[in-house]
Subunit: 346 residues, 4 copies
């Protein structure tokens, strides 16, 4: 039985992690870290877990925690995990960080986009970017796992096969993404009130969103071409789900069948990526509550572009589910363990 | 391995049944009956099940079906199951009927409220009303299981302990219920269009809703007093969930602790009923996707009434989940098998 | 031209008041009071009013304000208006208070339910309860107008004709109400975040909600019988709208036509109350953005009860619209001035 | 007083037209055409208009209608208006067509994208494309007014100034649009049921949507460059609103101030286009119920692109409001008459 501790257990990603781990037969949650709710019952914060979770919220003490558990999940604000990490901790426990602290290899890029100083850059080289479908082998041996951002997960998996195959002009890439509101977290802000979000849609962080360099770094690696792109996120009146609509110019004329064959080949063995059938556009509702990413594409011969689409549950494959998938790999468990989550419809 | 067939597999209750059975280790779905989608892939109707369900939709042939499976679920319009049932079928297979055909013992009452003729009244006496928490022993031996209505399940479980204990005046009972829109089914009607339901709430079927006599019959049995009550359903802009707010006059003064002790005692061994803590009102979101019913109550000393509340997922405990719970009992499986569904929040 | 000042202009009720007054040809808003946004452009807080409202938010100084305007609207937390009011102010300006401070005549009842001390009980006797359909004549001469609560407006107008006519047993009254989320205000609280409210419904303030004594007082006056009732509000995932479903035992058998005749007679001359046709249940969407209250009823001969229903936009007839209707009466303008708001559907 | 007739009065655009015309002091609606609801009260179809609209639905007889009214609005399926139009009708009455029949000058392009034969191509040359901000003078003299599509209105107004000024490379244009569900009409289809749309987002008509050639034609005219672009609409779980996010490469480096100056100049005299302040992204909620289009832009120096954004109420500026604006121009009324609609928030 793997013993797990969670720091930041009462945010939405933390809550989803607890929900998933409750159904994981090889994991026991030993520590529900939450500075805001210390000494309160965890199930009083998330009443959906009443009579399911018995634990009480504790303060964040990573050093003490490292003595008690095998793996620590940090679902915390940017900068927090990096400020706590030490070699001594890493010698005892594996870290799966759901924040952005170890996602970007270049410290300067991180500091520019996140506007904070990185407190433990010495660990950047060894941290592994945890997009299982791309980095599976490296993940298995990781001590520090940088769990990918929600937008990057959906964006990269939608684009990866064509980027890797060199079919698209990487400098024409435009990613227009739409997210449910749980992505904004559980902080009490006027902007996230029901009445402000409901019956409304808006773009935000236009040309400045922090997930941009993360996507660029990974697609640069995939394509072998320095990639600079536009990424525009939108806030959608729904709880869960991310939809990505990405546009790129094809380098040469290519048939539907050829592109379909590429997607099928890249994701043939993958348990959590579904390449949809011809003409079927991904919908976030079809993956809700599950660890799936649904992808598909459409070629537009009029413009010579390909439109690549992906849908995902931002809290599962975009956060907690992927974290568990990574944990499974890191601990030698079957990758799907605890993740047999059938999407819920409607 | 139990072989199951579903007639009416492409309605919302049928779809939910498939979702749940996909996670049930002792059941295999052999027949996806759907007259509207014959020969189409089931997963093309419910794309959430793409690459999970491989079956193709078939016509409804109960006699052929009875030769192939151990249990037939009928998630069909009122009157349909009763029109198909025969002794020959029942000799081969167990029937779990999600429609109202066998819920009400009195044929006349059924025909008055449902405005249709009952086509197989000879089976009414042996049919068992499948509210597991009340009829567990009878369910185990049933051939025809009448799966309770969604509103009745939530209403009865919220009121049952006090009705049974004789604490409330049954003739003062008023049930004000609120349901998500999936309860209205997947039929293409203007009234159920997104724009008609969204940002809107209304009562419907006021003083005439068909679930009224079902609730009355069960509460009459529970209390030993002929019960006539008001039941008013409302349509709420959400996909899933039923909330019941029920009012009754207390026959005598009684303390919070006494009433709490009654609820706790009645539901002590129950795996799917959660009696919430003092002052916590049930919320539908806390049970979404799960087989739980959350109940609680509030005494109002000013008026001498008790307000009884319950929340439930109408498609799970109110339909497909309860059907599986009944199936488990009928086939001697652990009652919770396949129903370890942790509520999803948010 | 009437000069108006608003204290609490950046809450939802304040914002709605501004929206309505922008279309009122006899009123000019001179003061946008908002402690949270001092010196910020009002239209930067409510971007819907960009290029429509030019004003800047100011601090709350009721004494200064009284010198500049003819009427002050207070859309402020409970207790605030009462703490500011003085005879000197009232000698210069009319007050329309959207808070509860002057709604309840009995100071003790106010203090018990609101848990605060009333700071200017000397004005309670002269304050007029501003439900126009009932108190029209008194309103015309008022200096202090207590604008009714949202739930009480909809509840009282739904029940008033039958209470006044003595047709219902006032001690059997149960009011089950459902409100959109704007009723909870614009404060940044976790409970009102999009993800907490969406896809969810719950009761709150069960047997303890502060609007209870307000409804009781008015219905006691209407019926001439001391009325104690149950009032249960629910939070519904929608921005606007209140739906009331009220239950009472009829004192004697009475026909549909008789009851319909009563409702029609009571509301015959009313411009903002619509008695719906037989069998049509009120829906909140049908009154959205307008000052209408739609009412109807259903007699249940089985239980001897009548179910009374009402629907209203909580921010208009339940707050800002009614405030303007009161202002029109107080200043001798046509009651409908500025309130020709056609409900928006869908 | 202008007499107006509406064919297709019971669709969502027709209903919105009625709502707006109820507040227009110079227009009287004489004919509520609706084949589905002949002889039924119009207010029984749209209960929001109960006691506001007294008319009864009539069949569609354009010839009879032409004798009775001054202007006919057709809010009908594609092809219908073109099939009815005759010179004799046009000699008596002005036509404002909310369908696509006269929007595209090139008959072949229309027939290719709409997959129907155009039944009165002889009128195509004289029909005027009714985007008031661009074609104001021509609109004044029009007999046949082609009211623009919802997506094209928002797209073109967002892009027009930069296209016209030659600042952007027209062959790099990508328009990613998001619409509320009322755009899908009031037809009873499973895809538009509440439970299918709610908590969901999807792209549709990818690379094939019929509004594409309309946008291309207008932007070709504006820029003087043959424009072929990608247009991708998405269905968003909200009733109303369209948001456009458009991307194009800048032909040369240009400052924020310069671009802002262009937008401000182009829309300086416009009553219904609001150029937002720096850094403020348009939100659909801020224009709900009004005839405004809010536009803004963001330059991304990293990629050399400009992101152009627009938000609008699809039923108002995207359909009925723009139709009234056109009517005002065609009849010599003030352009804003009947359109003083303040956006409703929340």
């Amino acid at each position: 039985m793997i013993k797990a501790g969670i720091i930041g257990a009462t945010g939405y990603a933390g809550g989803e992690l607890v929900r998933i781990l409750m159904g994981h037969k090889d994991v026991e949650v030993k520590w529900y870290g939450s500075r805001s709710y210390i000494d309160q019952k965890y199930a009083a914060v998330y009443q959906n877990l009443f009579q399911i979770v018995e634990g009480v919220c504790k303060d964040d003490n990573m050093e003490e925690l490292a003595n008690q558990v095998d793996v620590i999940f940090t679902a915390t604000p940017q900068g927090y995990c990096a400020s706590l990490l030490k070699e001594e901790i890493l010698s005892k426990v594996k870290i799966i960080d759901l924040s952005a602290d170890f996602r970007i290899k270049d410290q300067k890029v991180y500091e520019e986009w996140y506007k904070i100083e990185h407190k433990s850059p010495q660990f950047l080289p060894e941290a592994v970017y945890g997009l299982c479908e791309i980095n599976r082998e490296k993940i298995k041996g990781a001590r520090i796992l940088a769990n990918p951002g929600c937008y990057p997960t959906c964006s990269i998996l939608s684009i990866y096969p064509l980027a890797r195959e060199g079919l698209i002009d990487m400098n024409t890439l435009i990613i227009d993404a739409k997210s449910g509101t749980s992505g904004a977290g559980r902080g009490a802000k006027v902007d996230n009130l029901y009445c402000e979000v409901n019956e409304n849609i808006k773009a935000y962080g236009v040309a400045t969103h922090r997930h941009t360099p993360e996507i660029e770094e990974q697609l640069t690696l995939a394509s072998g071409t320095k990639t600079v792109l536009n990424f525009t996120p939108h806030l959608v009146p729904m709880n869960r789900g991310i939809l990505v609509t990405a546009y790129a110019s094809l380098k040469r004329e290519v048939s539907y069948d050829k592109v379909k064959e590429i997607y099928d080949r890249y994701y043939a063995g993958e348990q959590f990526v579904r390449v949809l059938e011809k003409g079927v556009c991904p919908q976030t509702k079809w993956v809700e509550g599950s660890n799936y990413v649904d992808v598909n594409f459409q070629i537009d011969p009029r413009t010579g572009r390909v439109i690549m689409m992906g849908a995902m549950d931002n809290l599962v494959k975009g956060a907690a589910g992927q974290a568990v998938q990574n944990m499974n790999l890191m601990f030698g468990l079957p990758e799907k363990e605890g993740l047999n989550l059938v999407p819920m419809f409607p």
